[in-house]
Symmetry: C2
Subunit: 140 residues, 2 copies
Amino acid sequence: MQQQISVITLSVADLSRSRRFYVDGFGWSPVFENEDILFYQMNGFVLGTWLDGGLEGDMQREGLRRPGAFSLAHNVREQGQVARLMERLASAGGRILRPADAPPQGGWRGYVADPDDHAWEIAFNPAWPIDDQGLVTFGL
Amino acid sequence: MQQQISVITLSVADLSRSRRFYVDGFGWSPVFENEDILFYQMNGFVLGTWLDGGLEGDMQREGLRRPGAFSLAHNVREQGQVARLMERLASAGGRILRPADAPPQGGWRGYVADPDDHAWEIAFNPAWPIDDQGLVTFGL
């Protein structure tokens, strides 16, 4: 069985507000967008942002809640990039949850919520290699 | 800026209960585990399951909620694998949210909640190629 995740889908209340965070904040480009959903091609999988109601309808489950008990992380290659990216995300509609500092295991990280309260860790973790395609490997 | 997600971290109430779902259900192997956290090396990024309290403490934010307004998807290569994997996940502590059927855009999919109520879509989507490393590419 492949250890594989194909899609991460975030439910969002306002597509253009969310788009601003991901496009202007992270600097990413959608590979597809319509009036309901945007998809971003990521490092080996796809990130989707789907207008509220779409995901609940698809999974036939109401009452999805924010903030959810999860986080996403984007790792950068240099410690100094952490705070700079967090500032850019805040300028694009994000909200800083924890300013950058050193975690117990080493490196440097902070947390920013996207406009829909989904949490992003922005991290410099020298033990986890990132290749030129953006593929990330666990390390100690 | 790399379109890159390094980690997806799920907050879980019971590590061994969660481990059973991911190891016995999906058939995945952790690359690291201790009494607080398990990591799985995925297709270009890392999946973490972190005991409740760990993630809240790390992001300095209380009150994470379930079910969160997001889903993860695992795509399979043949339509017949969708229901079989969903049954195996249910046997390993998951709960079927939506039995498999055809979505509007084609293919076949259903939803299963993990023991901590995080939603997984199990999907057959012939428009999105999966390579031998498990890397998934958006397609129409």
